[in-house]
Amino acid sequence: MIIKRPADIRSSEITPESVYRSRRRFMRESLTAAAGAGTASLVGTPAVALPREWLAAREVKQGVPIGEEMTSERDATGYNNFYEFGTDKEDPAKYAHEMTVDPWTVNVTGQVEKPGKIGLEDMLAGIDLEERIYRLRCVEAWSMVIPWIGFPVKKLLDKFQPSSDARYVEFKTLHRPSEMRGQRSFFSNIDWPYVEGLRLDEANHPLAIFAVGMYGKLMPNQNGAPIRLVVPWKYGFKSIKSIVEIRLTRRQPRNTWNVLQPSEYGFYANVNPNVDHPRWSQASERRFPTTLFKPNRIPTRMFNGYDDVASLYKGLDLSRHY
């Protein structure tokens, strides 16, 4: 099934895909020719971010409803933790438009056979998009249900062919203080850029996705445009936003919140009602929509209800590796 939602621009204004693709190809080829370096690898393709019509021109496999009420788009795009734009929940929606997401390149490095810096649109070429309706559980004990549009992390990693030495994946968010006021803040104690990591087998799990859209639209800046990670069985801070670098490593990478406060945020950060955050209980969560008189508090489930992933952690003491 196709969930092509109506675009908010007239169809007459949209450049047909064949035309813009050929334009881009022309630019790419002339650039490569000018550089005189037509390497066979993915390196050297010019940076082209996702044009607005990009999503409309694609088929998106519809997501499977999970039988839980969806969080409103307004809440999911208006209440965010994206400290690059400030620490208030409303800050990202207010200030994330200052971030340029066009053009966007992602640098894939480390233990891969085909490293390279690649424009987003080229990176996503040939990858099928699908909708995934996931619960998102924030470490702060609130949660949402969001329809993401994306694709499995594995599909992208495979393109770059991780070497046999690769055991972890590190992700990095854009670091551009001129456009991200939180990174300019004198009072921030975060060591920018924001970094996160997964074990390679976690990243390769079919539930782990890269998302480029939500609610049938391209990803809003405040939610991590143009490409972000979504790992639904882990606390939200693991699902790093606005990714510019993916590095395959041998050793466990650092992750920002763990560096900042190791007693409160681990590397694994699997949703776990039995391990409290030192400052609050993780036994339950406030599921949005929540109102003062109907708080909609529900018990938190192990792995956020994604029991499939339990096999990844056999033999691991999850109270120590929180």
Partner: protein, 226 residues
């Protein structure tokens, strides 16, 4: 003889200050009413957090304002300002009590339905557990407890009864303010703007008192030397 206009602290000043300090509570009340009328409209996506945060913020602000009243009366040489101090202090206490109650009602361990061995904790148990387990809650609770005797003995009757000890007792406001600030510091994450700003205010207010004290000692010494 034309009657001269004289500003009445009791008839004009106090009601005015009372109303100004009530504004944050009234605004919150309006939001709660809107939330009641149309859920999701008044207090944003996370209303519980919003209510607790709003009350805590204004509790700390009015607490610092209480300290500022004495400083201002000295710096501006207007001793009559001190007559507003009790009202400001009682508003601070009110906001902090509401902050405390709303936290345990909306966010704390009781609201979260914390259970031990499958048994859900009662209100009092959950409260004790939160205070015991979470240092920032401990600090906030200490601040509130320290303010209770001050609120009780804020009346003129108690002032008379305690005589000189009243002043000593009310110095508890200093550790209370420090505990409240520690509470803020320990709940901050990612940014230290709020603890810095409120800390700066606290430093200025404490500093002014230290300067006054040193000057007084200097004067007494000078008088003794004469």
């Amino acid at each position: 003889m034309p009657r001269q206009f004289r500003f009445s602290v009791v008839r004009v000043g106090k009601p005015l200050v009372f109303c100004v300090l009530a504004i944050p509570l009234v605004l919150l009340g309006v939001d709660v009413w809107r939330e009641f009328q149309l859920p999701g409209s008044g207090l944003g996506p996370d209303p519980g957090e919003e209510v607790v945060h709003h009350l805590g913020t204004w509790g700390l602000r009015t607490l610092l304002l209480t300290l500022a009243v004495s400083s201002a009366s000295r710096l501006l040489k207007r001793p009559q300002l001190v007559r507003y101090r009790r009202m400001v202090g009682l508003w601070a206490f009110t906001y902090l009590v509401l902050h405390f109650v709303s936290y345990f009602w909306l966010l704390g361990g009781f609201a979260a339905g914390v259970a031990i061995d499958g048994r859900r904790l009662g209100f009092a148990e959950a409260l004790v557990m939160d205070i015991y387990k979470r240092p920032y809650i401990t600090a906030g609770f200490v601040a509130l407890v320290l303010l209770i005797p001050l609120a009780i003995t804020s009346t003129r009757g108690w002032q008379r009864r305690l005589r000189r000890r009243w002043k000593t007792l009310h110095r508890l406001v200093y550790p209370a303010a420090m505990a409240a600030w520690t509470h803020l510091l320990w709940l901050s994450k990612g940014s230290f703007m709020d603890p810095f700003v409120y800390g700066l205010v606290l430093v200025v207010l404490f500093g002014e008192r230290i300067v006054v004290r040193i000057r007084k000692q200097g004067l007494t010494r000078a008088a003794a030397a004469k």
